[in-house]
C-alpha cells in the first residue's frame, strides 16, 4: 500500500499545463489559499512589531547557519545528556536505513507518524514498507493523502487539492483497508470527517509502541525538540509510544531557548493564521514516567550542506515551513502543488529542491522558472528569504552552468539543454547594449517595421507567445522621443 512517489514526474511546464486544465483543482486551491491569505494578513496585523520579529527570525537563522557545526555539536551533547540518542544521516537512504533498523530493533511492524516534511522528503514510508513495516500517517491531511494513494501538494495542508466531498469518498472507500472503516452514512461535513478520522486513528494511537516524527525546532543549548501542531495527533505520537524516532533536518536547530520567543510568534501566524496553534509539544531527551522511554534523534543532511555551500542560495535553509509563500503565489494557486514534483511545492520548493537535489533532472532544472518573480513570497516570508533573488540566481546556474557542491564534493555542471536560444538572446542583447550605435539602429528599425510584426513570435519565442500577447513596439524609440522633445523644449 505504498502510495505514489515523486520519481519520474514531468518537468514543471508539462505538469502545470495538465493541472491548470483541472477546474476542480483550481477551484479547491483558489478557495483554500484565498481563505488563509486574508486570515494571515489579519493575524500579522495584530502585531505592531512584525517586521522586527521577522528581522530577528532571519538573523537568528543566519547566525545558526554560519555556525551550524557548533550548534549541532551543542544540540547533540544536550540531547545525549538528557537520555536521547543522536544519529547522523548524510542522505535520505542513510536516514531511512537508520530508522528502519531502529524500528526493527523494537520488534514492531507498525509505526504511527506525525506529519513530517523531512520524512516525506526522503520517502521514509516506502522504505519502511519495503522492510515490512507499516507507517500510519496520523495528521488528517496526510491521512487523506495516504488513504487516497496520493501525493502531498502543500506543506501545511498536504490534501489542499481535495475538497470535502472528495475526502468523504476517500474515507468511505479506503479507511477499511487500513483499520476501522468510516462510519455508515458519513457526509461531507468537515466536523463529521474529523470525527471519522478521530475514530479511525484512536485505536492506532492507543496501541502504538513506536512513533516517528519530525520537529519544527531543536534548541541547541538545551537539546529541546519542538513540534507545533493542531489536531493532537502529534501529542498522541510524542507521548504514548515507548519509542520515539525524530528525523530532523540539520537546519532546524536554533541556538537558545529564548530564540523560541521569536519563532513561536512568527510561525503560527504565518502558517495557520492563528495567534497560537492549538498544541505545541516540547521535550528534552526522555523523562522518567512520562512519555517514551527511548528517544532517537536522526539529524538529516540530504543536500542541506550542498545548499549551505552556495552563499546566495543558503538563505533557503532559514525556512521554517510555514507555507505562507505557497498561499500567496499566483503560480502555485493555478498550477497546484503536484506540478512541483516534490514534497516542497510553491516558491520555497522552487528554490529548495534544485539545491537539495541538484538540477540534473529536467524537473529540478525547470523549477527556478516556475515563477513570475512577483515577489509576494518574499513579502510574506516570516524569515525574509529573498525567494526571487534565489530564483534568479538558480536560473543563471541552470542556463550558464558552473561550479556547485553535490554530495559534499565540488563539481562543475554544464549549461542545461534547451536554454540555447535564451543564451544566444542574452549574448546578443549584451553585445547590442554594449554598442549604442547598433542599439539605436535596431530600435529605429523595429519602430518603422511595427506594422509587419506578427502577433505570435516565430522560432523559440513561439512557446512564450502561445500564452501571452506580444508587446507592441512604440511608434518612436524612447531615445528619439527624448531627443525630439528635449530639443523642442530648449528651443
Amino acid at each position: 500500500m505504498s502510495g505514489r512517489t515523486y520519481l519520474g514526474l514531468p518537468a514543471f511546464p508539462e505538469a502545470a499545463a495538465q493541472s491548470t486544465r483541472n477546474a476542480t483543482l483550481r477551484g479547491n486551491l483558489r478557495r483554500a489559499t484565498h481563505t488563509i491569505r486574508d486570515k494571515r494578513a489579519r493575524a500579522v496585523a495584530e502585531l505592531d512589531d512584525w517586521q522586527r520579529l521577522r528581522a530577528a527570525g532571519a538573523a537568528i537563522k543566519t547566525r545558526t547557519l554560519r555556525h551550524l557545526d557548533h550548534y549541532l555539536g551543542q544540540a547533540e551533547a544536550a540531547v545525549t545528556a538528557a537520555g536521547g540518542q543522536v544519529h547522523w544521516a548524510a542522505d535520505g537512504a542513510e536516514a531511512n536505513r537508520i530508522v528502519t533498523e531502529l524500528v526493527r530493533a523494537t520488534g514492531e511492524t507498525e509505526v504511527v507518524k506525525v506529519k513530517s516534511m523531512a520524512t516525506q522528503e526522503i520517502g521514509l514510508n516506502d522504505a519502511l514498507a519495503g522492510a515490512g513495516i507499516t507507517a500510519c500517517e496520523t495528521d488528517l491531511a496526510e491521512l487523506i493523502v495516504q488513504l487516497g494513494d496520493d501525493l502531498p501538494s502543500h506543506i501545511l495542508v498536504p490534501a489542499i487539492h481535495r475538497n470535502r466531498s472528495e475526502i468523504r469518498d476517500i474515507f468511505r472507500e479506503r479507511m477499511a483497508d487500513w483499520g476501522r472503516p468510516a462510519p455508515d452514512g458519513l457526509t461531507d461535513r468537515p466536523a463529521e470527517l474529523a470525527e471519522a478520522a478521530r475514530l479511525h486513528l484512536r485505536e492506532k494511537f492507543l496501541r502504538a509502541k513506536v512513533a516517528v516524527s519530525g520537529a519544527n525546532f531543536v534548541v541547541a543549548e538545551s537539546g529541546t525538540l519542538v513540534v507545533v501542531e493542531s489536531e493532537g495527533n502529534g501529542r498522541m505520537c510524542l507521548t504514548l509510544p515507548e519509542t520515539l524516532i525524530s528525523v530532523v533536518g540539520i537546519e532546524k536547530v536554533v541556538p537558545t531557548w529564548q530564540d523560541l520567543e521569536v519563532f513561536l510568534q512568527l510561525l503560527p501566524r504565518s502558517s495557520t493564521a492563528e495567534r497560537m496553534n492549538p498544541y505545541t509539544s516540547m521535550w528534552t531527551g526522555t523523562t522518567d514516567g512520562d512519555g517514551p522511554r527511548n528517544f532517537h534523534l536522526v539529524l538529516l543532511d540530504n543536500g542541506r550542506t550542498d545548499t549551505l555551500a552556495d552563499t546566495v542560495g543558503r538563505q533557503a535553509l532559514r525556512c521554517i515551513r510555514c507555507s505562507a509563500c505557497l498561499n500567496v503565489c499566483p503560480v502555485y494557486e493555478r498550477a497546484g502543488g503536484h506540478a512541483y514534483g516534490s514534497a516542497y511545492p510553491g516558491p520555497i520548493g522552487a528554490i529548495l529542491m534544485p539545491q537539495l537535489r541538484g538540477t540534473d533532472s529536467e524537473l529540478d532544472a525547470s523549477l527556478p522558472f516556475a515563477s513570475s518573480l512577483c515577489g509576494a513570497c518574499y513579502e510574506v516570508c516570516p524569515v525574509a528569504i529573498d525567494i526571487p533573488e534565489v530564483l534568479v540566481h538558480l536560473r543563471e546556474r541552470v542556463v550558464e552552468g558552473g561550479e556547485v557542491v553535490r554530495g559534499g564534493t565540488k563539481v562543475t555542471i554544464r549549461p542545461a539543454k534547451g536554454h540555447a536560444a535564451e543564451r544566444a538572446a542574452m549574448r546578443a542583447a549584451r553585445w547590442t547594449l554594449d554598442h549604442p550605435g547598433a542599439l539605436r539602429t535596431a530600435q529605429r528599425l523595429a519602430s518603422r517595421t511595427r506594422r509587419l510584426h506578427p502577433r505570435r513570435l516565430p522560432g523559440p519565442g513561439r512557446a512564450w507567445s502561445d500564452t501571452r500577447a506580444v508587446p507592441e513596439v512604440p511608434a518612436e524609440p524612447f531615445r528619439d522621443w527624448w531627443r525630439r522633445t528635449r530639443e523642442e523644449s530648449t528651443k
Binding site: 479547491n28 478557495r31 489559499t33 481563505t35 488563509i36 522586527r52 528581522a55 530577528a56 538573523a59 547566525r63 554560519r66 555556525h67 557545526d69 547522523w88 544521516a89 548524510a90 488528517l140 491531511a141 489542499i160 470535502r164 475526502i167 468537515p190 466536523a191 474529523a194 470525527e195 478520522a197 478521530r198 484512536r202 492507543l206 538545551s222 529541546t224 493542531s230 489536531e231 501529542r235 498522541m236 507521548t239 504514548l240 540539520i250 529564548q258 523560541l260 521569536v262 513561536l264 503560527p268 492563528e274 495567534r275 497560537m276 492549538p278 498544541y279 505545541t280 509539544s281 516540547m282 521535550w283 528534552t284 523523562t287 512520562d290 512519555g291 550542506t305 555551500a309 552563499t311 559534499g408
Partner: protein, 215 residues
Amino acid sequence: MSGRDTVLGRIRRALADVPRTERPEDVQVTRDYLRVHGARTPERTADLLATNLADYRALVHRCSAGEPAELIARLLAQRGSASVLVPDGLPPEWMAAVRGPVRITDRAASTPQELDAVDSVVTGCAVAIAETGTIVLDGGPAQGRRRITLVPDHHICVVRVPEQVVDSVPQGLERLDPSRPLTWISGPSATSDIELDRVEGVHGPRTLEVVLVTE
C-alpha cells in the same frame, strides 16, 4: 567515516566563506521587538486571556478564590462525567464539592486504554499567556504526566490569577524550564485540513474548560 564526521566535514567546507575568527555571537541579532504588545493592568491581562481562550473555543469560567470547588463540581455534573482523573498535587479543596464522579488517580502502570475510559480530567497549569490565549503544562504539581490531559475527552484546567498569568510569549518562555516536558494548549484540538477551514475537535480533548481563579 561516520555519518557524523561526513556531515560536520561538509558543513565546515560549505562555510569556507565564514572568517575563522568569527564567533556565533558576532552575527548580530537585534532584539528590538516588543516584550509585550501594549500596556495592561493585571486585570486587563486576565480579561485578554479569557477573550483569546474563548476566541479559540475554550469554555472560560471565572471565579474568586473560595469558589473553584463549587464551579468544578458543577462543570463535571453538567458534562455528566462518571469518572474524573486527578493528578498528584491537585489542591484537595478544588475537588471538595465533587460528589458524583468516581475519582481516579493516574498510576505509572495505567495504560492508554484505561485513560481512554475516563470521562474528564482536572489539572492546574504552569503558566498562561494572555496575548495568545495559551495555557502551558509542565508536568509539575497538579498537572500529571502529559497523557492524562490528552486522552480523556474533557479537560478542566485551573489557572490562578494573576500569579500564573503573563502577557506575552517572551514572558511565558522566561517562566518555563526547557528540561521539563511541556505542552502548550491554545483551545481544544482543531484542524484546518479540510479546505483550510478550522474545525474544532480531532484527537485531543474536544472540550477544554478553563477556570480562572482570581486570588
